[in-house]
């Protein structure tokens, strides 16, 4: 079956604009994760969903970042008033059970100019 799908694959935006990043997890996977991958920083946890609820939002860097998940499936990560330091690859992953094997998407490369 299809793996985790993320769109867009690349996004260039001007500083101050809002962006939405989309993640389609593997069908039937209840857990969904967002990570940020920056050069030299490794993988930074942002938020975790179990079903439609987010029991752990501890990694969201500021209140400009938010995420939602609907129907226990698609998730959207929104960054408002983007800043240059938001430039990174945003990775989504899903898992059939909590905290175990994660299946990653190809990521969205965000560039804020």
């Amino acid at each position: 079956g299809a793996g985790v799908s993320q769109s867009p694959s690349n996004k260039v935006t001007e500083k101050g604009k809002d962006v939405e990043l989309r993640c389609d997890p593997i069908s039937g996977h209840t857990a969904l994760y967002w990570y940020r991958q920056s050069l030299g920083q490794g993988l930074e946890f942002l938020i975790y969903f179990q079903g439609n609820s987010a029991p752990d939002k501890s990694g969201l860097p500021s209140d400009r970042f938010s995420a939602e998940r609907t129907g226990g499936s698609v998730s959207t990560l929104t960054i408002q008033r983007t800043q240059q330091e938001d430039s990174a690859v945003y990775l989504c992953a899903s898992s059939a059970n909590r905290g175990r094997v994660l299946h990653f998407g190809n990521g969205t490369r965000l560039t804020v100019t």
């Binding site: 793996g3 985790v4 994760y33 990570y35 030299g40 920083q41 490794g42 993988l43 946890f45 975790y48 179990q50 029991p55 752990d56 990775l91 992953a93 909590r98 905290g99 175990r100 094997v101 994660l102 299946h103 990653f104 998407g105 190809n106 990521g107």
Partner: protein
């Protein structure tokens, strides 16, 4: 708090040489440890997990609770092993997440 430390950013070896990618963790509970790999232009994927105790692509990793380490080893490196490797930790609690180290780039030269 959970923490994963990969002390080196880059390891460069010749083909056929042994490889050891270091990983240390900090966690007070009962962790699960993983190694994930990202080959060039491919998505991040699971390489192995400690509870499986299996060898994948010739790689092994043993959890050493005394030293809080989970080093990844391969006796004879191949060029196709060149990739970015991440060590990760998950607790076994109800609302667990995976905490990753900063990763290490392995370069295997011919």
């Amino acid at each position: 708090a959970q923490r994963v430390t990969q002390p080196e950013k880059l390891l460069s070896v010749f083909k056929g040489a042994p490889v050891e990618l270091k990983c240390n963790y900090s966690y007070s509970g009962s962790p699960e440890l993983f190694w994930y790999v990202q080959y060039s232009r491919q998505r991040l994927q699971l390489l192995l997990r400690h509870i499986s105790r299996e060898s994948i692509k010739g790689f092994t990793a043993d959890l050493n609770k005394g030293e809080t380490s989970f080093h990844l080893k391969k006796p004879f490196a191949q060029e196709e092993d060149s990739a970015m490797y991440y060590c990760a930790l998950s607790d076994t609690g109800a609302n667990s997440k995976l905490t990753f180290g900063k990763g290490i780039t392995l370069s295997v030269r011919p």
